[in-house]
Point group: C2
């Protein structure tokens, strides 16, 4: 078997998430969708992705419930691709990636974009906390096997 390995059977939630949106283009498409893009040509122009690959990615993102394809009013052949509720739940993933990128992948003086609170125009915070509100870093976190609910 030479096919790309699937992580679908894996019991790690991150692995399954990556199986759904973990290829080179899917998350970029989702990013653009968060940014308001809906049309094939918008994605294509924004990403510079090959059109056959874009078509394929849009198809699988729809299949997997991240996007919906709605026929536009204009002609029934045209489609608009919009984030589903499930797709919008990828927001924290996008924010986490952005924060990492902003922190480590830009030179100090380099122009950049950032995600801000629409109301205040101020950068967002992303916090991982325990139930009591303490901030939790990698060393305070443990992966725990949840026993099967009977």
């Amino acid at each position: 078997m030479v096919a790309r390995k699937s992580l679908k059977g894996d019991y790690c939630p991150s692995a399954r998430a990556l199986d759904v949106i973990g290829d080179w283009w899917s998350l970029m498409i989702v990013r653009d969708a968060f940014d308001g893009m809906t049309r094939f040509s918008e994605f294509q122009k924004s990403l510079g992705i090959a059109r056959n690959i874009l078509a394929e990615r849009l198809r699988t993102l729809v299949e997997r419930g991240i996007l919906v394809a709605v026929p536009t009013a204009e002609g029934r052949a045209r489609m608009e691709y919009r984030l589903t509720a499930m797709g919008k739940d990828l927001f924290p993933v996008m924010v986490a990636l952005r924060q990492f990128g902003e922190r480590h992948l830009f030179a100090p003086q380099e122009p950049r974009s950032r995600l801000v609170d629409r109301a205040a125009g101020r950068p967002l915070r992303l916090d991982i906390t325990a139930e009591d509100g303490r901030a939790i870093g990698p060393d305070e976190a443990v992966i725990e096997k949840v026993p099967e609910a009977g």
Copy 2:
């Protein structure tokens, strides 16, 4: 040019982040590293990845500053791969992916693992907030071009 497109030049921080850790295996390796794995054979066994690909991925993760390769005490040829500070900053990305996976990619009765607070043994929370503490969803967030400093 047929080479896989690089997003390095892109001014979106998420794009750059994906350029560094956005392929099928890198984030899984990082996940295992968060889980305490350090050895080639541990990663290989855990992921079922082809060894040449694992070797290549470890090399580039080291190159990019996500992992460090430290020779083990035993023999100088053996390496231990550990997360750098930069690598540890991927923690929120991992948590966000896990949360998405837990929420959408498991059947209700299915056995699973989850990330908990080591002290309390309780699931973690991931919050995106404005500076004043309000929770921010995708619709309250805007991408803003930061004008060049200087």
